[in-house]
């Protein structure tokens, strides 16, 4: 199943939007943080995990999803949030800690919740697995349409909770897909240092479900594999496990010196940057004209600019609002 022309344009648009968004955040993040780097300073305080390079996984999977489908994401959630259709203005405002943010500043960039499109993320490794499995259970019990996708990193498969949730999804035959984004690094620990097998897709055998590894950070190949897994889940045939090779072009967090990376690795990854690659492919395939792609890029940049402007101009969160919304209204 190859993406249609329209789907290819959607994928490219969301990849570019995500990249422009991360670039904007990266620039603003350092405001107020130099010459001395202090994480607490500037308009965007706190940790920041950017998703540059990992866009193909988000768009290849989310191209098959509708707002009613459920996604749980990780501490590195922006590309997935954008591909899932999270309100970009409110998301930017949340990252700035503004009153107009998704949660009014209570969550921050690792805790983005958009109920309108069933998106949530979390700062604890593999923690999204249980809730996604539970949402899948909810749909099955209610006889309602929709699948649940948990995005996790390749380091997450070594969490006990990951195994528990995979087994639960399989033993209850739920409409659930686990998508492992394999960027090769758990902060500074290389995949081969942490895992005894090269492909986490092999772990699917432990649950009696299909597993597939997709090499090359290729949005088309990810689209195809995700399409099969999601169609299978929609048909009531149960969960799947996908592992997608991807590239972390950013550090683990903003400010990460990345001294642990082998010399030259980063340069090689930038040469394989999936965004220019997709642009070339769209043109080579005749799937888009230069003018069309230019328009997509301009519109994406404008969309990001508008979201950043909205965030910057919004009111700060009111300090005393910290004491509200602990419980449901």
């Amino acid at each position: 199943m190859s993406p249609t022309r329209e789907e290819q344009h959607w994928m490219y648009r969301n990849m570019v939007t995500s990249r422009r968004f991360e670039e904007a955040i990266a620039k603003i993040y350092f405001e107020g943080k130099s010459p001395a780097f202090n994480m607490a300073n500037g308009p965007i305080p706190g940790e920041m995990h950017l998703s540059d390079g990992q866009e193909p996984v988000a768009v290849g999977v989310c191209a098959h999803l509708t707002p009613e489908d459920v996604v749980t994401a990780t501490h590195r959630p922006h590309h997935q949030a954008i591909a899932k259709g999270v309100d970009l203005d409110k998301m930017a405002a949340e990252i700035f800690g503004k009153k107009t943010g998704l949660s009014g500043g209570r969550g921050g960039h690792m805790h983005l919740f958009d109920d309108d499109v069933n998106f949530a993320c979390s700062g604890i490794i593999a923690q999204g697995m249980g809730p996604a499995v539970g949402a899948a259970l909810s749909r099955k019990m209610q006889g309602k349409p929709g699948v649940a996708v948990a995005f996790v990193g390749e380091g997450a498969v070594n969490q006990g909770g990951w195994h528990e949730a995979m087994n639960l999804a399989a033993v209850w035959n739920l409409p659930f897909i686990c998508v492992v984004e394999d960027n090769g690094w758990g902060i500074s620990v290389a995949k081969k240092t942490a895992s005894s097998i090269a492909s986490h897709a092999d772990r699917a055998a432990a649950y009696g479900i299909p597993g597939k590894r997709i090499e090359g950070n290729d949005p088309y190949a990810i689209f195809e594999a995700a399409g099969e897994a999601i169609a299978r889940a929609r048909a009531g045939e149960g969960p799947s496990l996908l592992e997608c090779e991807t590239y972390r072009l950013a550090g683990h967090f903003m400010g990460d010196a990345e001294a642990y990376r082998p010399k030259g690795e980063k340069d090689a990854l930038f040469e394989k940057d999936p965004i220019p690659k997709m642009r070339e492919r769209l043109l080579a395939d005749g799937a888009a004209s230069e003018a069309e792609l230019d328009t997509i890029e301009e519109e994406s940049a404008a969309r990001v600019d508008a979201a950043i402007k909205f965030a910057r101009e919004s009111d700060d969160a009111a300090p005393e609002d910290a004491l509200t919304r602990v419980f449901a209204a």
Binding site: G104, H111, F113, D114, S122, I124, G160, E164, A328
Partner: protein, 339 residues
């Protein structure tokens, strides 16, 4: 009420009845946990449910607390009202991330845009030599962390009303039932917990304490099993001419500080009975609630009868030495007089 109208139930039966009644009117309620299906729960609180509702809504789970509590959060956010069981509260160690980082925080992280209507039932308490990983209360541990309501019934009437209220709440409720009150003969049940329970559904307000015995000389504040110890001590004290008031907290979060303060304002003396560990916990919180509000109401320094800060020992004599009991409460009164 005449004797013939009386409908005495154990806490276990009251919990199961409340759950069944709610499941009949609300299709979004379902139960999952370990051994809650054909076995009916290790403590009997899901007995009979699978026969009526089937295995789809009464789900035995794998031994995977992180996954099924996390799944309950996801299902709750998606429109269901899961009731999940953590068989022993002591097992929180394998799944606390799903409880306090997920269940308790998602309403806040979403700015109130998502609801997490779920009940986490869990058994507490010792006294039957089950050792240090199957006998704790951990009230303070759960009540300390924001985002979870916490209830701890002392009798079957309250247990039913709290269970129904918990299932109807849009926030997560931790429902801590004491094994020694469950009405399971093999656990050495406290008879006072088995009381009249109306058949029709009703709710008890979460966050409201009860004065279960009126008195004027001292307030004894507790929850769960501690209430029964307090009532027994009050009887002994009465024989000595001392009028003890007993406050059953019923809910730990929200804590009904007004009822505690009003009682102590009346009696001027406070003894807190807590089967949880002494330090950094419930007993200190109750005392602080009084003293930081108005220390002048106290005629004597408050006293605590709580579990000492040691893991719960196995040997019967050792465990009984550590547990609160009526004699220790009476002794606390005596010390208060001697001071």
């Amino acid at each position: 009420m005449t004797k013939s109208n009386e409908r005495k139930l154990t806490i276990a039966r009251a919990m199961a009845e409340a759950t069944a009644q709610e499941m009949r009117i609300d299709p979004s309620v379902f139960v999952m946990g370990e051994d809650i299906g054909p076995l009916g729960g290790v403590y009997g609180n899901t007995r009979g449910l699978i026969e009526e509702f089937g295995a789809e809504r009464i789900r035995d789970t794998p031994i995977s607390e992180t996954a099924f509590i996390g799944a309950a959060v996801g299902a709750a956010q998606d429109g269901m009202r899961p009731v999940v069981e953590l068989m022993f509260v002591d097992f929180f160690g394998v799944c606390f991330d799903a409880i306090y980082n997920l269940m308790a925080k998602n309403i806040y992280f979403s700015g109130g845009n998502v609801k997490v209507p779920m009940v986490l039932m869990t058994s507490t308490g010792g006294g039957y030599s089950d050792g240090g990983q199957h006998s704790q209360c951990l009230y303070g541990t759960f009540a300390h962390l924001p985002g979870m309501k916490v209830v701890a019934p002392s009798n079957a009437y309250d247990a039913k009303g709290l269970m129904t209220a918990a299932m109807r709440d849009d926030s997560p409720v931790v429902y801590m039932y004491h094994k020694g009150l469950q009405g399971m003969g093999w656990l050495g049940t406290e008879a006072g917990a088995t009381v009249h329970v109306p058949e029709e559904p009703y709710t008890l307000e979460i966050g409201k304490a009860k004065v279960v015995r009126e008195g004027k000389d001292v307030s004894i504040v507790s929850c769960g099993m501690g209430v029964h110890n307090a009532l027994k001590a009050a009887k002994t004290l009465e024989a000595q001419g001392v009028s003890a008031e007993v406050v059953d907290l019923v809910s730990l979060v929200p804590l009904d500080r007004d009822t505690i303060r009003a009682s102590v304002a009346k009696t001027g003396r406070l003894i807190v009975v807590d089967e949880d560990y002494m330090s950094y916990g419930l007993s200190g919180e109750i005392i602080a609630s009084v003293t930081e509000h108005d220390i002048s109401v106290l005629k004597a320094a408050p006293k605590r009868v709580a579990f000492p800060d040691v893991p719960i020992p196995f040997a019967r004599v050792m465990e009984q030495f550590c547990l609160p009991n009526p004699d220790k409460i009476v002794a606390a009164w005596d010390e208060m007089q001697a001071a």
